[in-house]
Amino acid sequence: MLLPGSDPVAVVRQFSEQVPHSRDLGMEVVAVEADRVRMRLAPPQWLRADDGADEICSGVLYSLADSAAGLAVFAAAQELSPIATLDLRMDYLRPATIDRALLAIAGCLHITDEVAFVRCEIFSEGKAQPVATGSATFMRNTPGQRFKTFNEQEDGT
């Protein structure tokens, strides 16, 4: 659970940094405001859509949207209870060029004890129009092991 008075950015960032795939692609949590999460990804060269293409592979935008959307559920719920993606739909509006970092802004539209609906927009840094939008539905409080709470992580238990 996000402790009262704890820094939500620090809690969400700490969680995200422990996700191997997010670390692999170089995603970072920039901001957490209420039920909205901002993430950034500075693309290395191996994220090109094709050898010689100036465009980032769409699968990378997909991963970034999935990650940001999941973190938005935690932000809205104010706790790190386990979630599972039921579906995610991406619209790739325009190419995302490899020379600019990606910024994702995900916000929770509606959340209940069982489900959460999230929208996400991805921008090329410095551009006003999004390069992609995502729409995800998550199952909440899924069975299986619970994540360590922020408390436990601090205690090292």
């Binding site: 996700v19 859509a49 094709d50 699968g59 991963s63 039921l86 190419p95």
Partner: protein, 151 residues
Amino acid sequence: MSGIVEQAESRDDHAACIAWQSLLARIPYARHLGLEVQLGQTGIEVHLPYREALVGNSKLPALHGGVIGGLIEITARVAAQDQDTRARRPRILDCNIDYLRSARARSTFASAEVVRHGRRTGVVQVTCRQEGASAWIARGRIQLLFPATDR
């Protein structure tokens, strides 16, 4: 007679495998994920070998949903490009994935069905299963746009 037909089919499959592999080899992210083409029971499959860096939930552990998304999108692109007579590189317009079961820490295989291949657009459905199980773990539908000029 049937033996001859099977032989012809297997030769086609073999040629298609080589074609898919050469398309995959040009995609840096596919190389990073370690994707490889193989012939499965139901035809050509794209194999995503398990690595710790693909994990999204270390507790279960389970693969990141984005990794499955990348596998599905790249498989759809390669399937669509392989069927195009001019081998045009398609651009993905949208992608819609249903997650049916948790993706465990093991090898994953994606199969593609080109639902429609038009002059300008294509629709590909991709299903994913994992090593040791036949049940689908995810299903995706991808709309692709082919460029007007050859690339």
